[in-house]
């Protein structure tokens, strides 16, 4: 009974996701007729070369990026909400996103991109932008710090506050950099902060996808343990969960996701908070085995919808992605807070 209704919801979600992916490939600022799109996908050569490039090198990578980053951030949000027992947690809570931003701010705002660029060329990583390398470095430094601290802090509540403090500290560092930076560099940094799924491309995806797969793979492995954790650490330990190990796995998985997503797409907000809640309310269960697949589908859908809306045909410019996700996400978060008000202690 429950299983069958879950399967129906899951199938509907999956079908919706396929439709959205198709839309992501069909819709764009340049109009390409659906039949031409199909022949391009089937490798027919009767279509303008420009259209082929648009489909293969812009729309498909962009759709895959929105899909995988959306799914990854959704799952990471789910992990954080359970680990920290906090309904408004997402992967940015660890400070890893702030670490990535700080790395970017440092290179972009100080105008040091060329130095990192030389490093990139020297190491053969020149296809990855200097911004990406700085972001990954920043995220890694914070990840190592968080893992180090988590070994020494027993209370998960204190770990949460430490994560927030790291974020605040890094944010104030960025403010200082902004205060002394060139207006031109400030603008470049702001545009990075808008978030975007379209700057990644195939070569970026070659790093992004395996990293996200690793992150989601670790998450899937811990779903059973996260279920036990719903009832508190003492209960989880009593049924056989190794809490220290679970924390390290969850923090690493989330940080990998937040780190590479932020590095390649900028700080993407809202998906991580909204997707798990939408999934939870759709399934009507807190069982991670059920909500994790739907969280991935929901996160991917929000990513795709936001991406499609951001560049709807009819206007030439592209809307900032975070503005679009926030437009979708803000009402959801408000709804969550109102629903939780009665029982929440947050």
């Amino acid at each position: 009974m429950h299983n069958s209704s879950f399967k129906v919801k899951f199938s509907f979600g999956l079908a919706g996701l396929v439709l959205l992916s198709a839309s992501g490939i069909l819709i764009g600022s340049t109009y390409i007729p659906p039949e031409s799109t199909l022949s391009i996908l089937l490798n027919d050569s009767d279509v303008p070369r420009a259209w082929e490039i648009i489909i293969w090198d812009i729309r498909i990578p962009r759709t895959l990026t929105a899909l995988s980053v959306g799914a990854g951030l959704g799952i990471a949000g789910l992990q954080m909400q359970t680990l920290f027992r906090n309904p408004v947690a997402d992967s940015s809570i660890l400070g890893v996103t702030a670490g990535a931003s700080w790395g970017v701010a440092l290179t972009v705002l100080l105008g040091q991109s060329s130095a990192v660029g030389l490093f990139a060329v020297g190491t053969g990583w020149d296809f990855v932008s200097t911004v990406t390398i700085s972001a990954i470095t920043g995220a890694l430094i914070v990840l190592v710090a968080v893992l180090f601290i988590s070994q020494r802090v027993h209370s998960i509540g204190i770990l949460l506050i430490i994560g927030l403090m790291i974020s605040y500290g890094l944010a104030s560092g960025i403010t200082l950099l902004v205060a002394y930076a060139d207006p031109e560099n400030i603008q470049r940094y702001l545009i990075w902060g808008f978030g975007s799924f379209r700057t990644v491309g195939w070569q970026g995806l070659a790093i992004l996808m395996p990293s996200l797969l690793l992150s989601v793979g670790i998450a899937l492995y811990t779903l059973k343990q996260l279920n036990a954790l719903l009832f508190g650490e003492p209960y989880a330990t009593s049924v056989g969960v190794n809490i220290t190990r679970l924390r390290i796995l969850t923090l690493s998985s989330t940080a990998i996701c937040a780190g590479v997503s932020t590095a390649f797409c900028g700080p993407i907000t809202f998906i991580g908070i909204a997707a798990p809640h939408l999934a939870r309310f759709t399934v009507g269960s807190s069982d991670h085995l059920k909500i994790a697949p739907l969280t991935a589908i929901t996160g991917a859908s929000i990513g795709l919808i936001a991406e499609i809306i951001a560049q709807l045909p009819g206007h030439n410019s592209v809307l900032p992605l975070n503005a679009v996700t926030a437009l979708l996400g803000a009402p959801v978060v408000i709804w969550i807070l109102i629903t939780y008000r009665k029982t929440s202690h947050v």
Binding site: L223, K224, N227, A228, G240
Partner: protein, 235 residues
């Protein structure tokens, strides 16, 4: 009920319970036989919960030894420990959406594979445990919508689903009405009689549990203390 077949299941030798710089209980030589029910009483803060956590391996002991099923407790893996002890904590889980069945099914944790999927035998066991606690009507109900007494029966069922040798119950009746308290005490007595399950119950509700207990452990006020042991009413 002092059963001649009872063999010692859990025993301690010169056990000291407490925290790094705070000794709560000293010189404990306790023995729990199979199918035995022990009532643990004492004022708040005297170390009832600490003792329960120490006995079930959730808290580090200060000194002494604990033997379970002829093995030293600290040599057991987290997984093996979870096959010996199942703990019933008091209090309601917050903001959790689950049916009664899903909730009890969580108790199969030590038996399911890495992905936690319930197999046929896990589903059957879950149903059997729900039946044992007379909670059949709660299978499809959301745990948010049921009473404290009903939830406590499901929590007991969830502990049974773990197939433990010893049930550890930490103030299991603190939120319950009189009828639910009596029901819970009756259930535990049945489980001890029929399945040879042992139980250690920390409680202030002595009137419900003393009649079914074979031992009473009383912690006097003033740390570090020993434990006053008495034969229970059910001997």
């Amino acid at each position: 009920m002092s059963n001649p077949h009872n063999r010692p299941l859990l025993s301690t030798s010169d056990l000291e319970v407490g925290y790094k710089d705070n000794s709560l209980l000293v010189g404990l030589n306790l023995t729990v036989g199979t199918g035995e029910i022990i009532v643990l009483i004492g004022d708040n803060g005297t170390g009832k919960s600490s003792l329960l956590r120490t006995l079930s391996g959730l808290q580090r002991r200060r000194s002494g030894s604990i033997t379970i099923d002829e093995q030293e407790l600290s040599e057991l893996s987290v997984h093996d420990r979870s096959r010996q002890f199942a703990t019933v904590f008091s209090g309601r889980p917050e903001n959790i959406l689950m049916t009664g069945f899903e909730y009890v099914g969580q108790g199969r944790y030590p038996f399911t594979g890495w992905n936690g999927q319930l197999r046929q035998q896990d589903i059957e066991m879950t149903h059997r445990c729900i039946q044992q606690t007379n909670a059949d009507h709660l299978v499809d109900k959301s745990i948010k919508s049921i009473s404290d007494g009903e939830l406590q029966r499901l929590t007991l069922a969830r502990a049974l689903a773990q197939e433990p040798n010893i049930l550890i119950l930490d103030e299991p009746t603190s939120f319950l009405d009189r009828k639910s308290k009596q029901l819970l005490a009756d259930l535990i007595r049945e489980l001890a009689e029929n399945q040879n399950l042992s139980a250690i119950i920390a409680t202030h509700d002595v009137e419900y549990f003393s009649p079914i207990a074979s031992q009473t452990w009383e912690i006097p006020t003033g740390a570090p203390a020993g434990i006053n042991m008495a034969r229970g009413d059910a001997c």
